[in-house]
């Protein structure tokens, strides 16, 4: 029996939805699990068979992690270095400042490249080295160098390395947005007597606004979740959230899953909200000029 067109379409639709749903489960189950664990009381963290849906959900993990309320739980966990609010402050400060610097300098450099070729194409690609050579190869002498400069364990120290390592993405992403702004608009502004900087500030950057916002948020995601540099260039003062999370272990009990989950959910939710907000721009930013429209 030959399949007619209609049946073929149904088979394809069935195949599409079942495949997508399988991947949806693969993506969704870990997310479900970590959110679920954050509401589980201690006894259910390691239970066998595993507890999929807690009958006695509790907020004590959140209360413990974010408000330091130890009395809500039965067992005592080490709390000496656990300061999530301080880490949240550090992460926010470092990520916001380094991302702003990176996008600002990235955008004006991208403008220069787009309009005046201040960097040749070869230099633009060489810029990628800053990002693509793994940071581990430089971090040891960098921490020594930082300690002589007094930059070790300071916000400025982290901000400077994050600025350098995210700059390549900032330049490439903003360039793809600036390239699309017609030059005639700038020329019109210049004929009307605006200076170069005023043209950039009041014409070009506002026109590239959605692209700049997308770049900003994308780089914010990168710096917010960075781990290696944050771990090795900080000691006690500028501990960021990912490093804080990795320190979150009980002194005698080993891993404390519920607490880790409560902290992890708090760290991740802002990023997911941001990501959903900029999802339409992500593709163009990643495409490095390889996707033409």
């Amino acid at each position: 029996m030959r399949l007619n067109k209609r049946n073929k379409k149904y088979i394809f639709e069935g195949f599409r939805y079942s495949t997508l749903t399988i991947w949806l489960v693969i993506v969704g189950f870990p997310l479900f699990w970590i959110v679920g664990t954050s509401f589980k009381p201690d006894a259910e963290w390691f239970a066998w068979p595993p507890v999929y849906w807690s009958e006695t959900p509790t907020l004590s993990n959140y209360a413990n992690v974010w408000m330091g309320k130890e009395e809500l739980t039965v067992t005592q966990y080490a709390q000496s270095m656990q300061k999530p609010w301080k880490a949240l402050g550090n992460s926010t400060l470092v990520a916001l400042v380094s991302t702003s610097l990176s996008v600002f300098f990235g955008a004006i450099l991208a403008y220069g490249v787009s309009r005046y070729q201040v960097l040749t194409e070869a230099r633009m690609f060489q810029l990628l080295m800053l990002r693509m050579v793994p940071p581990i190869v430089i971090v040891a002498p960098l921490s020594l160098h930082y300690s002589t400069l007094g930059l070790l364990d300071t916000h400025l120290g982290l901000i400077l390395v994050y600025f350098l390592t995210t700059l390549p993405y900032a330049v490439w992403m903003t360039k793809s947005f600036i390239d699309e702004i017609p030059m005639e608009i700038e020329q019109a502004a210049e004929i009307l007597g605006a200076s170069k900087w005023r043209t950039i500030w009041e014409v070009v950057l506002p026109l590239a606004r959605s692209g700049l916002v997308a770049t900003f948020l994308f780089i914010l995601i990168l710096t917010w979740s960075e781990y290696l540099l944050a771990l090795l260039l900080s000691k006690t003062e500028v501990v960021t959230l990912p490093v804080e999370l990795s320190k979150y272990e009980g002194s005698t009990e080993g891993r404390v899953y519920g607490r880790q989950a409560a902290l992890a959910v708090g760290i991740t939710i802002p990023l997911i909200i941001i990501g959903i907000f900029i999802r339409k721009h992500l593709a163009r930013g990643f495409s490095f000029g390889m996707v033409r429209r």
Partner: protein, 317 residues
């Protein structure tokens, strides 16, 4: 007339000169802050790294500036060290595996989703979430799912009807593959996003022409869509591969190189040498070897990407 013309050209040339000067000034203003930060932050570190590779020093040996010059001794030691060789092999295996995994899944999903259908937006949002999850959170979530009494073994047990206790994280044969699966889960959205953008931007005309000429779906895919997608595919593979070579948070927070040394990739080895064994000079020499290796790889990648971009620029001129 003649004198008018002359005056005109001289005005033009002075205008061009001021324009050239303005561009030059613009260039300085935009580039110099970056160069200054590079020279202040990274350059001294690179020089220190070179110093340590030639002057033998560990933290037990007094002040670092009094270290003794040993020539290429440390480099020789590092280059003949099997451990570094294995770390490079593991890193390459991990990066190739996770890159190919991310790409196949991401491309497959993109093929199913690049034409509008009902529920499109919902699936798209759900599918990009793993990329937005902090890598260290992915690591801990993976551990909660995969430890011996965890839900993955639980589900397998109830499906198969008897207790399954695979030790995903402690079994030396599968630990590196386990973390590779986490990496694939984490970064599939990256390939997915790039591929869906690439597919959506393909020109319709060649595909329609081929269909009119009687080409089937598969031929259109392999002979028209795939070649047109080559630049995007290479970009997705290269960026993911390079980022995977630097992967550290998952492997370190879950394994620290163990069990045994089966997850000892390049970043983990350099970390252990420097911060656990305090052999600063050895770590520095390892770093230089790895840096040169990575620069070669990146140069190769840049060569490929530039060639593709030049082709595209010519096509769309």
């Amino acid at each position: 007339m003649g004198s008018n013309n002359l005056a005109g050209t001289s005005v033009n040339s002075t205008r061009e000169m001021t324009r050239a000067r303005a561009i030059k000034r613009f260039k300085w203003i935009t580039i110099s802050p970056i160069v200054v930060i590079f020279l202040v932050v990274l350059m001294p570190a690179l020089i220190l790294q070179l110093y340590f590779s030639f002057f033998g020093w560990t933290v037990y040996l007094g002040s670092w500036w009094d270290a003794e010059f040993v020539g290429f001794e440390i480099f020789e030691e590092v280059l003949t060290d099997e451990r570094l060789g294995w770390a490079v092999i593991r890193s390459l295996y991990f990066s190739f595996g996770s890159t190919v995994g991310c790409f196949l899944v991401g491309f497959g999903l993109a093929l199913l989703m690049y034409r509008p259908f009902k529920g499109n937006a919902f699936y798209y949002i759900m599918f990009i979430i793993p990329m937005l999850t902090v890598p260290i959170v992915v690591a801990y979530t993976g551990e909660m799912l995969l430890y011996q009494n965890g839900p993955i073994n639980g589900i397998l047990s109830s499906l198969l009807g008897h207790d399954i206790k695979v030790s995903w994280l402690a079994d030396a044969d599968i630990a590196l593959t386990t973390v590779m699966i986490m990496e694939i889960w984490n970064w599939t959205p990256f390939s997915f996003i790039i591929m869906i953008a690439g597919l959506a931007s393909l020109p319709k005309e060649p595909q329609e022409a081929a269909q009119i000429l009687g080409a089937g779906k598969f031929r259109v895919f392999f002979e028209i869509q795939l070649p047109l997608l080559r630049p995007v595919i290479l970009l997705a593979l290269i960026l993911r591969f390079l980022e995977a070579m630097a992967e550290y948070p998952k492997i370190w927070s879950l394994f620290q190189g163990g069990p045994g040394s089966v997850t000892e990739t390049i970043p983990v080895l350099i970390y252990l040498t420097t911060w656990n064994y305090f052999e600063i000079s050895k770590g520095a020499a390892q770093s230089y070897v790895v840096m040169i290796l990575m620069i070669l790889i990146v140069l190769g990648a840049i060569w490929v990407l530039r060639r593709e971009k030049t082709n595209l620029d010519q096509m769309y001129k």
